[in-house]
Amino acid sequence: MDSGTVWTAKFGNQTADVSEFFSNVNRLLDNISGAQAKLVPEHYRALLYMIAGASDAIENPNSLLRPLLNAALSFSPSHDVLSPAHALFLIQALKAKQYKLALQLLKYDVDKFDSAYGLTYQDHLRFHYYGAMVFIGMKQYEKAIEYLSIVLCAPGFPCSMVQIEALKKTILLQLILYGKHALRLPRMANDFTSHSYRAFARAYDHFAVAFENGDPTVLKLVWNQINNIFSADGNYGLALHALTAFRKRRIQKLRKTFITVPMEYIESKDVDILENGPGTKEFVLAMIQDGDLRAQISQKSRTSPIIVVFQDGSITRSHLDELEAKLDSVRQLNEKIAVADRHVGQSREYLSRKLQSASAPGGFLSRGGGLEDLEGYDDSMSMMEL
């Protein structure tokens, strides 16, 4: 009897004490490596889903989070291989509101996908989509957009509902971060799926156009028409953040015109779409406190007006720390790209495509390039089209 059957049989009939069950599960998942899981992928996946089902049954998604995290991390030494545990862990972490724990998995970029582990296209989509939701919860919006872009660029016919939901969130996040949404999807996205996206996310496009237009009356009208759609999609909180971002942008725009401005003037420009937020003075002070506005308040006496003095940005230590971290991640990414470049250059698909283009008139070899010279590679085609 193979090991996979033993796993599922042992835990499928578990009636012992719950804590003993969880402790045994913890020990088992710690000791299963990626190589073992590859031998019996369907049993490994069934085991993980049974364990997740057990924690759902006792309505305590926290109980098996750590074992699932350990299972995902121990799958490969470099932690960059997608496993059946990845998406499952993230959905349980989201249910349990354990966002910080989820970041322990998401700090590793997963860029290797092997269907021999019983993985499907949906596993790839779900992992990155749930990962984006964790980043949204932690207010790391740029990282969330990065993960959602991976979902949007995934090849597929037809497009998946996960990709539709990813697009909706991407639009709202782009409004929050940049004040506008991309007119086009990422370059690598499939044309057919791009058209499908627009059909399903029309209300979000409508909201984004009203947001970019800058007219609060129009935005309020659109909000009243479609806020129930945000609610139904589970994006109401994110849409509220977008409205707050709209209010902030109207105040931030004044910096382009003024160096100092009376608070009364800001009040005349300030618009709270839902009319349930703090007053202008409190809102401006909150923006300064959160780092959304570089300004100082000046009021020489009780009877004199409050003046807001805008300031230029200064580089702080946290900016330098962030820059250093980003440079380090770029360096690591460059190394990974170099390895992937060599790997793709030696793959059968790439070599056969090169031979085909070489045999055509004016082909690659006639220009004197070698097999690994990627300058001749036609990069107008998607890398995924094989």
Binding site: S19, N62, S63, G137, L285, I288, I297, S298, R302, I315
Partner: protein
Amino acid sequence: MALFPPIDSLPQSLSLSDLEPLESLAQCAPVDDANVSRYYSLFIYCLIINDDIEEARFLLKRASAARRTISADSTEVTDTIAPLSTARKILTSLWTKNYVEFFLTVEAARHSVPLESPEANMLRTLADHVREANYSFVSRAFLSGALSDIAVYFGISEIDAKEFLVQKGWRVTDELTVRAPALSKEPTKAAAQQKARLDSLTSLITHMQRA
């Protein structure tokens, strides 16, 4: 299964490393265990002191989900045991930047617990931490302003706020407005180190662009 330890048996000055490992036990404890509510409230305060207010919010949601009680007519209601509801009020007032409510709630909570209890120590530390953070914000955000507007950030009276700011080098006018101390224009050692670091990062970027 191990039982949840009594809060009074924990170290007097609690830190995150003391509280984090106990969460799995807390989730399995009985719903009406007041000891566990005390634990959650202390954990929330500790997270705020460590400037992790996001995690404090998620912890409150986890605690509320774990402590849901079922009333006689089977309608789910949120746990209303005092320590956790006080922690919720404190966290909400900080999240909405309502410092008047924050300091009032903290003061009321401190008076409702024994003087040397872990809660009293933690609440005292929490109030001091928020006051210090707010002073840093006030000195960054205000060139001058009404004493009544600034005093709310410290949760003290205008007279106490005036004394506090004067000690920090602020000037108070007769009309009870305050002016921030003038900043020194001399370059500090930290600024020089920052510039050197910025220069080295800039050269690294140039090198990577050329590579």
